[in-house]
Assembly symmetry: C2
Homo-oligomer: 237 residues x 2
Amino acid sequence: MRTRKNSTKNAPSRAWEDYLKAIYKLEKPEPTDKGVQTKELAERMSISQASVTNMLKKLADEGYIQYEPYYGVTLNDSGRSIAMKMIRNHRVLESYLVERLGYSWDEVDEEAETLEHFLSDKLVERMWNDLGQPTHDPHGSPIPNIDGTIERKNLTSLAEVKLDTPVMLERIKNRSPEELRYLASIGMHIGAKIVIKNQAPFNGPLLIEVDDQHFHALDYRMALALFVEDNTDSINH
Amino acid sequence: MRTRKNSTKNAPSRAWEDYLKAIYKLEKPEPTDKGVQTKELAERMSISQASVTNMLKKLADEGYIQYEPYYGVTLNDSGRSIAMKMIRNHRVLESYLVERLGYSWDEVDEEAETLEHFLSDKLVERMWNDLGQPTHDPHGSPIPNIDGTIERKNLTSLAEVKLDTPVMLERIKNRSPEELRYLASIGMHIGAKIVIKNQAPFNGPLLIEVDDQHFHALDYRMALALFVEDNTDSINH
DNA sequence: AAATAAAGTTAGTCTTGGCTAAAGTTTTTC
DNA sequence: GAAAAACTTTAGCCAAGACTAACTTTATTT
Ligand SMILES: [Mn+2]
Ligand SMILES: [Mn+2]
Ligand SMILES: [Mn+2]
Ligand SMILES: [Mn+2]
């Protein structure tokens, strides 16, 4: 008689939501055989591995994830839907703070990381409508739809772009506030025209030209977080 | 060696903030000899008396309150300052939701009750500035200043107003969403002109005229939550 | 194929913030 | 002065979500 106290589904707690979101973010876009590792989760969330294992069992019990001990974890539909909701809440709020309350992009993440769990559906929809139902946040990340679907464009990292081929910056993935401020200071905003003029060996810095105006040396690790339109389609087809 | 884990002051938790706010709300405007009762707190917060006693000891340990067993509790400056901050957060957010996101007044309280604990100072100040630094929320309640001071006007409940004396509605104290909607539907908004035409005996309903237009029968208990400018000054002076 | 390293799980503990129930204390009211 | 109400104490319980230490499983080297 495994009657569970929680059988009348309470809303998942903040902790559960953060786990599900972290799993989503660690899942590879191309589905592989192995799921997300306990260790990856522990590291990303700054929580001990033992605590992660513990929580994964609960999440699996409630049907949010597929959990194969020692082999990692994948999201079920119910879990993915919660993850998408958190990401929608997060990105809509961040967009709102930037567009309506004069926040700069590097200030919004901390606020959103907490508030994403406490915003009502109503509030998120009102902010989203007020913003004109945007599909992307100000840093180019897609905002999931209310039904939990999300655009999955194939973007290429700036680190992989050919030399002397102009590209347009489409998305800047999460970096620290300091890095974001730096990137902004060298003109790296969505829509900027970028040309890679050279790449130093051993994954060294890139020499780039921004908006036909300035040259900058861009650290390779930062280039990995900057994304442009993918061109492989036209090549593979 | 009573080294306490918490001696490096962590931010007070949501639970602590809600206690301090509840104590503030139960303190009488005219300072009396006795503080707020355990029982009142227990009732207002829907928490058992034993649990309240327990928490009061912790709050006193940390210096947020003055706690005299059997005699009730009063806020210290540190505790009052947290209470004021919660109320400021709450009222600024409610005002913002109404003014900028099209909420109606009866929708905002639930949202604010949770979010008040998670809004950053920065966000509250930006909303407040965006609204033009209002001193009162849309239902006439004063918004505490950043330094924790608050206007304490002497208002009179509509239940105590003399017959046939026109008064202006200044403040509607917290009621349920249903009651707020009803009050709105009979024209009870801040600034409305009200004349008491009659009061039925035994604390019965008031016959009122609103904005020189309509007559309504107003339940005595609702009249207790509606406030107008105090006139006793001009009488006592 | 064994040894080692890395990843993962188990078991036991802790803190926070709740609860009930029963018994004793203090204050207030009659 | 007695009874009622409010309050505290004690004891024991619970759930969530962390932790550490010890052990197990899987993967990688040699
Ligand atoms: Mn973010
Ligand atoms: Mn979060
Ligand atoms: Mn409110
Ligand atoms: Mn609250």
